[in-house]
């Protein structure tokens, strides 16, 4: 049987593509259902095609407010976590000091802990301190759990850096500040960017820790969670689809620019 033989030979590829389909399927459903006109409050069953939600993406109360709040929190959390994390990463790679092992474990632990445990314990702290739950407590929490991921990303990049480049800069009479700004930082930039991107994604999409520590503040994931109980507006799908398309376009454009640069460099 030639068909069977072909399947056998390409088994890995077929299995891999099936997994890919499994991962993409929900996104397709989200996209298709952003054009739905549901009968009841829930957008789980296909009724008929409509552009209503796309024409009026903010037509649901509090939806766009929660979206903008999530973007703000993600922005500040990214900034905070990237600044703190980059410094820690540099210290860990470049210097030998006491308690290095302990600090490495401290960085690793938040990543090895179920989110719900961190969420619950942080809430305990805030309740004990009498802190008012809201924007600031969410921001504090997000910086906390993004920090470790930034450190890991930046550390990987700084570790693979050639120290001789900095030595060369110093040999050429660059001061420590100049060396750092003109040589070290540009080389470490991809790692820092990767860490920042990761932090932004983690913060923007976080639900469990936010749910514990937000009080009555509603971020976008919390809005979606609430709507799963009260009724899911089609606009959620519109925003999900828009974010997906924007992100994919950005990646593609970035790839295009990189390719263009590469071919330019070759000529």
């Amino acid at each position: 049987m030639p068909v069977l033989r072909w399947i056998r030979r390409n088994l890995v590829v077929i299995a891999g593509l099936l997994t890919l389909a499994y991962m993409i399927l929900p996104n397709i459903v989200v996209m298709v259902f952003s054009f739905n006109k549901p009968k009841g409050r829930f957008n789980y069953e296909w009724q008929r095609f409509s552009l209503d939600a796309w024409k009026d993406p903010c037509g649901v109360a509090d939806l766009c407010g929660s979206l903008s709040l999530s973007l703000q929190i993600a922005f500040w959390a990214t900034l905070g976590a990237t600044a703190l994390g980059t410094a820690v990463a540099f210290a860990l790679v470049r210097y030998r000091f006491r308690a290095r092992g302990a600090i490495s474990s401290l960085i690793f632990l938040p990543m090895a802990m179920p989110e719900v445990v961190m969420a619950a314990s942080l809430l305990t702290l805030f309740l004990n301190m009498g802190a008012e739950l809201g924007f600031w407590t969410v921001l504090i929490a997000h910086i906390m759990f993004c920090l470790s991921f930034v450190v890991t990303a930046v550390k990987a990049r700084v570790m693979s850096m050639d120290p001789r480049l900095e030595e060369a800069a110093r040999d050429l009479y660059a001061g420590p500040v100049q060396t750092f700004v003109r040589v070290t930082l540009p080389i470490a930039a991809p790692g820092i960017a990767a860490g920042a991107l990761l932090a932004f994604a983690l913060s923007f999409d976080d639900f469990i820790i936010t749910n514990f520590n937000a009080g009555s503040t509603v971020t976008f994931p919390m809005f979606v969670w609430g709507s799963a109980q009260r009724g899911t507006p089609v606009q959620i799908n519109v925003i999900g689809t828009a974010m997906f398309v924007i992100a994919v376009l950005m990646v593609l454009v970035g790839q295009l620019i990189a390719n263009r640069r590469k071919s330019n460099a070759r000529n």
Binding site: F33, L106, V116, M118, V248
Partner: protein, 311 residues
């Protein structure tokens, strides 16, 4: 690019610093200054909360009269006695999802690393792209996919798969939604990228010539995989399974959105004890037990697989 590709200079024989003088105090303090803000943040908002939680778990009292530390360890015993089904269920669901992620994710990671060729970047983007739509929206989409009378359920019904799964207790009479299978399916879906990316990273590092060498030594493709590829990908397998199992064991989103009251995981219990019942000691004790279990599993697992340099 040209900067990093400079040819390696011959290593000088003489020591780099000719005069060995003690660095000034200011210089010696640099690493500590760099560490201070980040570490302080983690100590105050990660370690300290755990201490507070430990103390809360041994307190007794009520919301009105306040809680007091009375070293009431009975809370742990009571919490375990009442909620052990949820603990076992969480570990079972998370474990199953992790195994499924490995089985589903490995071929895809392998495909990206060795077979995709010029499509590699596109496939990688497709793996990461779903992330950009909030995971809650995507999890809700599974409600549509697995809906009663939907295409998936129909196909599984015609193939009599649901008869088998119902007999095993994974589904209930022609329903997938609100059953353990739906929850495990959601968990697997949500944590697959956390399995695929570490797997891909470790597979990509493998020198292709090792495969050729195995072939030259008359190893069949299956033997090559068993003796060369898989052992070399172990770091990816270990970190991938951890990155899947840890968050899955504490997750309550999938159990709440896709499951029923019979599929509640321990995360749900902690959440409702903390935010609705307001029984803080029980919630803190449950959360501590979960943490202890996960840390034990992780330590044991890392020891057994012999990769301690994960971090």
């Amino acid at each position: 690019m040209s900067v990093t590709e400079a040819p390696p200079a011959p290593t000088p024989e003489e020591p780099r610093e000719l005069t060995l003088r003690k660095p000034s105090t200011r210089k010696r303090l640099i690493p500590y200054w760099l560490l201070l803000p980040g570490i302080l943040w983690l100590v105050v908002f990660f370690v300290l909360p755990l201490v507070y939680q430990a103390s809360t778990s041994v307190q007794t009292g009520s919301l009105e009269q306040g809680f007091e530390v009375t070293w009431h360890f009975q809370t742990y015993v009571d919490a375990l006695r009442e909620y052990y089904p949820q603990f076992i269920r969480s570990l079972f669901y998370a474990g199953t999802a992790t195994i499924l992620c490995l089985l589903l994710g490995y071929p895809l990671a392998y495909l990206i690393a060795f077979k995709a060729g010029r499509w590699r970047n596109l496939v990688l983007v497709l793996v990461i792209a779903p992330f950009f739509t909030s995971f809650l929206i995507r999890t809700l989409a599974w409600k549509t996919i697995l809906a009663d009378g939907g295409a998936v359920v129909d196909v599984l019904n015609t193939l009599h798969v649901l008869d088998v799964t119902s007999w095993l207790g994974w589904t209930e009479s022609n329903r997938v939604l609100a059953t353990p299978m739906a929850v495990v399916c959601g968990l697997t879906y949500n944590f697959l990228p956390f399995m695929i990316l570490p797997l891909y990273t470790s597979l990509e590092r493998i020198d292709g010539r090792l495969h050729e060498a195995a072939g030259d030594l008359y190893a069949t493709p299956a033997t090559t995989f068993r003796k060369v590829t898989f052992p070399l990908s172990m770091p990816g397998v270990v970190s991938g399974t951890l990155l899947t199992f840890i968050p899955a064991s504490g997750d309550y989103v999938n159990a709440e959105l896709l499951g029923s009251t019979d599929t509640k995981m321990v995360g749900s219990v902690i959440q409702s004890q903390f935010l609705r019942v307001l029984d803080y000691p029980t919630a803190a004790a449950l959360s501590f037990i979960l943490m202890a279990i996960v840390l034990m599993v992780v330590t044991f697992y890392i020891r057994r697989s012999g990769t301690e340099d994960l971090v």
